[in-house]
Symmetry: C2
Subunit: 330 residues, 2 copies
Amino acid sequence: MAAAAAVSISTASKALNDTGRMGAETRERVKRIAGEIGYRPNALARGLLSKRSFTIGLLTNDTYGRFTLPVMAGISDALVDHGVSVFLCAIEDDPALAQIHVDAMLDKQVDGIIATGKRLDRRLPVDLSNLHVPVVYAFTEGTQNSVTFRSDDEQGARLAVEWLAKIGRRRIAHITGPEDFFSVRERAGAYHEVAGHREPVLYGVWSESWGHEAVEQLWKRPGEKPDALFCGNDQIARGAADALRERGVKVPQDVSVIGFDNWEIVAAQTRPPLTTVDMELKELGRQAGLTVLALAEGRPVEPGVRKLPCRLIVRQSCGGKTSNDQGNET
Amino acid sequence: MAAAAAVSISTASKALNDTGRMGAETRERVKRIAGEIGYRPNALARGLLSKRSFTIGLLTNDTYGRFTLPVMAGISDALVDHGVSVFLCAIEDDPALAQIHVDAMLDKQVDGIIATGKRLDRRLPVDLSNLHVPVVYAFTEGTQNSVTFRSDDEQGARLAVEWLAKIGRRRIAHITGPEDFFSVRERAGAYHEVAGHREPVLYGVWSESWGHEAVEQLWKRPGEKPDALFCGNDQIARGAADALRERGVKVPQDVSVIGFDNWEIVAAQTRPPLTTVDMELKELGRQAGLTVLALAEGRPVEPGVRKLPCRLIVRQSCGGKTSNDQGNET
DNA sequence: ACCGCATGAGAAAACCTTTTCTCACTTGAC
DNA sequence: GTCAAGTGAGAAAAGGTTTTCTCATGCGGT
């Protein structure tokens, strides 16, 4: 305690917090000594009094971290300046485990909770709607009157298809994931809006082998082949690009391939590296973090769903612009 | 506070903690009422007194989460039963950011810190050696007299090469990462011990394209070709498998390919799915978690480096055993 | 009938801060 | 010279819990 080192007891607090009345030289002296002995206030004691623990919880059911990590990075990035630390709780779609983690967080008096997942149209297996701390949803389905952040998949899909159109592609096919995913339907909708209904939409699963197989199907059909493939994610795009190469179809000269997600380890390792759509999950996390902080501080936040725009990452799989790898700053 | 609801003040504490003297029926009543009103003790107040926050910090410089996530899962898995929550702090090799996070964790009175990274032979950019809380290192270089957990890469490499030998391969080449990685040298050493020096070791980088290129180099050489490739990680193995397929070399009939890391998104998507070595990072995390807890509770722990054994994951890229995908339980 | 002891339960201190209240002293004004 | 106002700094309470201490009651033993 700085008090012992310096002179008084509660004066130290006032000195360090620049509150209360006191002589300038006293304040200086306390600050100096505190610095010298490396005094740091106990956040537990402080939190006990202020009802703010400067701690939030991040709840996720995305074991793999595919979506959670960028979101987490954004949250941490936004909140570290405010002295807020983040509890990461990975619940594996296990309601009991989820409840344990939520209880542990509440016991520790978190200032708020951010719920995140791997799918926009699914809920976490735990009810967060009547907690006495604010809850923000990020990349997962929220409850009535909650604040939810999500990517604008429609806009992202439009970005992709418009890019293909802009570089001169006319027969754009869409190979994507399971139709029961909301984001799949949204992306397919935007695709139809921009590209029309000339080419089919192939629904499948989120894997390279489906991308591979879909290309087989398309090229086995009689008639003109597509000159571009808009793929539902980077894994499908990679499978498709591989299948095209094996058929002797040149990417991007003969066919443009575009992905979705900008999952670096897939997109950047594909031959050629994938042009793709980035969902800006880090920015999403940043905004979710700032929002939960605002709520914790009692500032009003309008409830509702906030769609954040996606961004096109141009690499080499589409041709067009000859730049080789802009947007590689992550 | 349960006190108001029930009858007394500090008696409640004793009732709920099964300490102190009191009538059995009083104890029961307090417990029942506490349950009814959903009372949960404030961990901040409890921590203030007990000097235990039931909180630990996980510090990592592995932005991608490739290694950190399994380690984190293991830590959380081991500690959730003990009521311990984990602060995840991603520092991007930025010493200033690291210090901020460490200070924030210490302010919040963490019971201990686990440092983890992406490389066994590198330190985190922050000094944790003279903290007043216990520190455990996991998958990163520790300091003198610290407790460090790491994978036994030598044993893992031996596992791989012995498996290749066992299924009848004799000309085993080793394609791996940069020689300045300690784990690369260790794996190469074990490779030489088991396989002898008949085939060269090709050092390169951790990418698919290097695996691809290495195969080109090997197959361009005159003389007999290898009948097996032991690759330094799954990405290299995938690149190698792709290159072999493109050359018309059959995997696993003509050449066995084995990887390292068991990075599912790479290993399971390769054609054919990769037999590989799993570093058991989750188990590593579990042990690191239990160790930091033991230290926090004052139980003695022998300092030193603990090497944890790797495990062979058999898929289809080596042939041999015909099982298609055991070890797919993660 | 009295003393000692066991038993049940509340009072109080401690943990570390922050904040409000109080007090002593100085200074300026009348 | 007295009074009001202002200034510097310490005292005390509060926050929620655990732990130790104290006290009152009732019982058994002599």
